[in-house]
Point group: C2
Chain length 408, copies 2
């Protein structure tokens, strides 16, 4: 099927090179499509790595191996296969990943466990080892490419390439962070999202990089949902080449650590938003702002219950200020809430306060807000100080068409 | 909007009168529709009652009061309002319920807390007290009616009236159970479903009736889902008039207790299935059969994760044997599962066993099965003896049309 570009798409930003990172793409032909579908990032010696991965217990060999590899903290290469997730393929799937690791580590003369592999696409078909081998050879032999080409090559049902950047000043040195991501459906990250990669020239120890990434993840990837379905392959990796020459960041007390963490969270949030903006069938980008919960984590869970509710998502698709459905979703979240302290609003305008519809509620400005592309839902629980924002998209005929009308 | 009758509808069955139960309906006019929308069931003195209610913490006054009322164990009347759920309406909603309780208890000269009230429909609009008063008066003055009329009158977006019956022999006496139910969207019961009522002439103590109903609920209403959205009004009540003349059932050791419980579970299962068959936009009725889980409860949770997955539901709508999506849903359920012992099948034919696609998998008979109206998905976890069946429907353009294309 031919997918139209999402109406919520954002043009690919200008993103500089990161010293110590060389990108290449090739056509492995994992599917019958005339495009590059294998991405190879070569990383400078000594590059620190951190990662967050899916909690889905049926995760792929790539995820199983990656979880182990990040513990050692060093990376020399990343290979991303698009079109085949290699998930639920047993020992044959694992052999394919190990072949790629051996092939690239042979080329770079590095330990095999410094080669990270991700795969995305159909579940249940072992990654074809011949196509992978020829694809890696072709990538190694090819000219380096830019961020947008790499972002295109890691995509599957994505309708636009997704990238984001940020900079921070760390101990007098400017460090740069560039990220690319893919994802559109099967998006309900549980400590990670589809496939996302952030590269920085900052010098950061693996331990602190992991600390920053895990913290950023909690407020970004773990706060988005398209369809409540958690992928078997979700992976986000952060690579720090250290080429910026800053005094290495070793912990939150290091000079510039706050600025680096904020920049990392900024890139992660931008990337997470792009995935929602490419949500299957999405016509509207929705921010669910929850306040007054008993904790931030409780607020996030309530926000996800609202953002995952088919009845809320279809109401927004229909531009219908149906706040009763939001009450329902808050009530089913399984978190502390009290009907009589609950308030609901849209775009900054309250429709109900403290458990009652507002007597002077004027629906006209709310209706005008709901006609826009970017929608805000406000939920105040009225019990505490916990707050969170969760992002999602509406549920439309487009989602059904993509997932039911066409055979996968 | 004018809803077409679900293609999965079943004709209303022949159901006998229950001695001690008199049904009446009236037009309260809660919405601008030319149909009866208030149902009144008068119950013989001494009728035992049991109930299960929504776990949604934003539940209605009807549900709050009902939870308390069943503790006393006696019922003389049931009033069901359709078109307005009276949920999220604060003290004004509660006043409306208390007015109805006072009005009916005055008529029957019984305690007010023996009058049960349910309401279903739009959230956030207090039930109009004048319409309720006039409607109750009209119902009291009207001729008794049959089950099908009552089943019609309790419905809202339902496309067909839903009833079921069963009989059991208890201590030499035949007892009869008749039930009616309504529900189509916002269906993910958590210990209860939308609005369901079961009436029997059996003599049963309130305590044992509650025990039987709670047990039946766990295997029936708590095993269905249409859209994962849990209503604020879910209520199932069972009323036992005792007019069959059997020696009262007081516990599981009573003669005939097993037969009565089995008949009650049978009626509950039939009613639960009818709600799924009227699921918004449903084209296919899906049974998810989970075996090999570590416990029955774990199996039920895994079944619900599969049945709530938009990607699984759209795959079935598309008649696509996409078992990879089922693997994903099992993996995200948060229950013990192991990719390498997991098996997936459709209609009794395995597609994958022990974590691998079957080498000799023949998709042709599976494709033929998926073209039918009644679909079976088999999931074997391969870890234990826990099993459960969960029922749902597919996710189609019809669901989006009902919930997004039309304003509520």
């Amino acid at each position: 099927m031919d997918l139209k570009t999402s109406p919520l798409a954002i043009p690919f930003p200008a993103m500089p090179q990161i010293d110590g990172v060389t990108l290449r793409v090739a056509r492995a032909g994992y599917r019958d499509w005339g495009r590059c579908d294998l991405t190879y990032a070569e990383l400078a010696e000594g590059t620190a790595v951190a990662g967050v991965f899916t909690q889905n217990v049926c995760s792929s060999s790539e995820v199983e191996l990656g979880r182990e590899q990040v513990k050692a903290g060093l990376a020399r290469a990343l290979i991303v296969n698009a079109g085949n997730s290699n998930a639920f393929t047993g020992f044959r799937g694992r052999e394919a990943v190990e072949q790629i690791m051996a092939q690239v580590s042979g080329h770079l003369a590095c330990p095999a466990d410094q080669v990270f592999v991700s795969s995305t696409g159909v579940i249940g078909v072992p990654l074809p080892m011949d196509k992978a081998r020829d694809g890696v050879d072709a990538a190694i032999a090819s000219q380096p490419c830019g961020w947008e080409e790499a972002a295109q090559a890691i995509g599957t049902t994505d309708t636009f390439p997704k990238g984001a950047m940020a900079q921070a000043v760390v101990g007098g040195k400017t460090v740069t962070l560039c990220g690319i991501i893919k994802g559109s459906g099967m998006i309900a990250p549980d400590m990670a999202t589809m496939l996302g990669y952030i590269f920085t020239d900052a010098a950061v120890t693996p331990g602190f990089l992991q600390e920053c990434l895990s913290a950023a993840n909690l407020k970004t990837y773990s706060c988005i949902t398209v369809d409540s379905d958690t992928s078997t392959s979700d992976t986000v990796l952060a690579f720090a080449t250290g080429k910026a020459g800053n005094t290495p960041l070793t912990g939150s007390a290091s000079a510039g650590a706050d600025a680096f963490c904020a920049a990392l969270e900024d890139v992660c949030r931008q990337l997470a938003h792009l995935v929602v903006r490419d949500g299957e069938g999405a016509q509207k980008f929705i921010a669910v702002n929850v306040s007054g919960a008993v904790s931030d984590d409780s607020a996030r869970r309530i926000g996800l219950a609202v953002a995952n509710s088919p009845l809320v998502k279809t109401a927004i698709a229909g531009e219908d200020a149906n706040w009763g459905r939001i009450v329902m979703a808050v009530g089913k979240a399984g978190e502390p809430a009290d009907r009589d302290t609950l308030s609901i609003g849209f775009g900054g305008i309250w429709a109900a306060k403290n458990g009652l519809p507002l007597a002077d509620y004027d629906e006209a400005p709310v209706t005008a807000h709901l006609k826009s592309r970017d929608i805000a839902i406000e939920v105040d629980i009225g019990l505490g100080d916990g707050r969170a924002t969760v992002w999602t998209c509406d549920l439309t005929h487009g989602y059904i068409s993509i997932n039911a009308d066409y055979r996968s």
